[in-house]
Amino acid sequence: MESNKHFVLGIYDDEDVLLSAVRKVKESGVKIHEVYTPFPVHGLDEELGYKRTRLPIVAFLFGLLGTTLALTMQIWMLGYDWPMIIGGKNFASLPPFIPVTFELTVLLSALGMVGTFMIISNLKPYGKPRLMDKRCTDDKHVMAIDLAKNDLSQDDIKSIIGDSGAQEVNLKDF
């Protein structure tokens, strides 16, 4: 099968060098496709210009759903569907419903947020990663430049990456 995507890869072995490299490469007008790292490098997403994720909002909305579901379920079951006097308590009083409401809020919030994270990040069992370089899950940081999305020539990009402090400059086709 003929490959249709061509990348220039810069391999770095230090996160501080990587951060300054990202700045340098961007300043020289090269668009970075993505950076792959073995561990979270703080400040990298800001350098790359990524917006803050809205996952906290997702977590809040799922939490709200959990609260509503729990309260509706308890009030309907014990208050309306089959009211029963237990220890002289009211059919549908709020205080005893708080623990279950709290638990379901946390449960739905956590599951909802993690599920959303998996979906938007394309993480799934049997998911085939498009690995630029195997070493990016070991100890190397890999900066990938998509040639199709840049106007500069391959050689120019290679020299910009080389000057930015990369240990190696490689090519990768998909």
Binding site: D81, E103, S109, L111, L123, P125, P129, T137, D139
Partner: protein, 456 residues
């Protein structure tokens, strides 16, 4: 640039590089199991099988095979349940609360501690299930499912039902938290795998992780919010477990101090179990550079703090039992009657194991020594089992009517079911330590530059 500090001990010793971390942790997963591991799993499996017979007999015959009587309707089952749930707490505490407090020393120990949480909660969950006797009906009794008795629903006013929701939520959230953390490390193993089976298994487990900066950014948010959600969960679970007792009318049980005191006790026993397991893992898996003396001391300090809270709670219970002047209070688990009565041995076991012996941790030489820490951690676990036994059995053995006072004698099935969960726990933990990365590689790699002993 290497940062060294004169006030902080390095968290990773041995001058490790980022690549060394991958090598050291993956070696365990990739290599053949050691002889000590084989021996360990053999012993655990024997315990599991012997225990499984006790569980089978229990389900077949009913809970009459236990030593329960008309006075003592809860004994080893709920003792073990509360003990196991308590042990689970340190895992989530290390991963959630210490993450929020930005404590970097949690990074070498959180993975194993979280695994411990999950396995401990599985063991805990066996007991409420089994003590219902007719296990197969338990679903209708415990979960709000439409059932064959009309549309009769579960009682949401009952702390026992709150427990079901608390434990299952705790288990699910802990499992998700643990798994999310494992994904990047599974990817590391996948990319190093040389044989087909490992490639397939770790390929599946790693969910197609590629280490993209965008995913890492989201991942860190997810971890932070999960920590934020799990933190009140840690506190709520044992609080709710304590409601099983605190909302009742048995002397010694209906105590408002129970929620905070149970939580402190849970963290106390949980950290003791983390220490026991990590000190074994440290030696067997050769993780001396990652689980250092500093880690052991910091965990011991948490044990001192929570043990102190527990000791104050005991003193308060003892004092209030006397001060109220209520005659029934003289037979509760923290009273003069308990210290001198038929269960005095259990009372003193509690005091010695939970206050006197852990009290020696105040000495720096003892809390920084691996052998003494190991012994004390086991003693605390025994002590915390006695605490739950004392609360449950001692308080029930002397109820309002002297004519119904009774003692509890365990049968082999009481012991057998406990052995079953011990076997289950250690089997699961040993399987985890062989096939999963025991240390969170990605997190440890991120602190190598700032907190390792390597000097450039």
């Amino acid at each position: 640039m290497q940062v060294t500090s004169s006030v902080r001990e390095p968290l990773v010793t041995g001058g490790k590089t980022v690549h060394d971390v991958t090598e050291d942790i993956c070696r365990q997963v990739e290599g053949k199991p050691s002889k000590s591991w084989m021996l360990g799993i053999a012993v655990s499996l024997v315990a599991l099988l012997i225990g499984a017979y006790a569980v089978f007999m229990l389900v077949w015959e009913g809970i009459g095979v236990w030593g329960l009587n008309k006075t003592i309707g809860w004994a080893w089952d709920i003792t073990n349940f509360v003990w196991w749930v308590g042990i689970g707490h340190a895992g989530t505490l290390i991963s959630a609360i210490l993450l929020l407090f930005r404590q970097k020393w949690r990074m070498s120990i959180n993975r194993a501690a979280e695994a411990m949480t999950i396995f401990a909660v599985i063991c805990a969950a066996c007991f409420p299930g089994l003590h219902m006797g007719r296990l197969w009906l338990g679903f209708y009794w415990a979960l709000p499912l439409p059932n064959t008795f009309g549309s009769l629903w579960v009682n949401f006013n009952s702390p026992l039902l709150w427990d079901v929701f608390a434990i299952s939520t705790y288990f699910t959230v802990s499992l998700v938290f643990w798994y999310i953390g494992l994904i990047p490390d599974f990817a590391s193993i996948r990319d190093r795998a040389t044989n087909k089976i490992s490639k397939m298994v770790y390929g599946t487990l790693s969910f197609g992780w590629d280490g993209a900066a965008k995913t890492w950014g989201r991942y860190e948010f997810v971890a932070l919010i999960l920590a934020g959600l799990a933190t009140p969960l840690v506190l709520s679970v044992h609080t709710i477990v304590s409601f099983d007792f605190a909302t009742s009318v048995i002397p010694g049980w209906h105590s408002t101090i129970f929620p905070p005191y149970f939580v402190a006790g849970a963290i106390f026993s949980g950290f003791a179990m983390v220490l026991t397991l990590l000190l074994i893992a440290r030696k067997l898996l050769k993780l001396e550079d990652y689980i250092t003396r500093e880690h052991v001391e910091l965990m011991n300090i948490i044990i001192i703090v929570t043990g102190g809270v527990v000791a104050i709670a005991y003193a308060t219970e003892f004092f209030i039992g006397w001060y109220t002047g209520v005659e029934y209070e003289n037979y509760t688990y923290m009273s003069y009657g308990a210290a001198t009565g038929p269960y005095a041995w259990a009372f003193w076991a509690l005091i010695i194991c939970n206050i006197i012996i852990p009290g020696t941790l105040w000495f720096k030489q003892i809390r920084t020594n691996f052998i003494t820490s190991f012994i004390i951690s086991i003693v605390i676990n025994i002590g915390m089992w006695f605490e739950r036994f004392d609360i449950i059995v001692m308080c029930l053995s002397r109820d309002y009517l002297p004519s119904s006072w009774a003692m509890f004698y365990p049968t082999i099935y009481d012991v057998g079911v406990y052995v079953f969960t011990l076997g289950l726990f250690f089997t699961l933990f040993l399987l985890f330590s062989k096939f999963f990365p025991v240390i969170n590689m990605a997190e440890v790699k991120s602190i190598i530059k700032s907190s390792s002993s390597k000097k450039n």
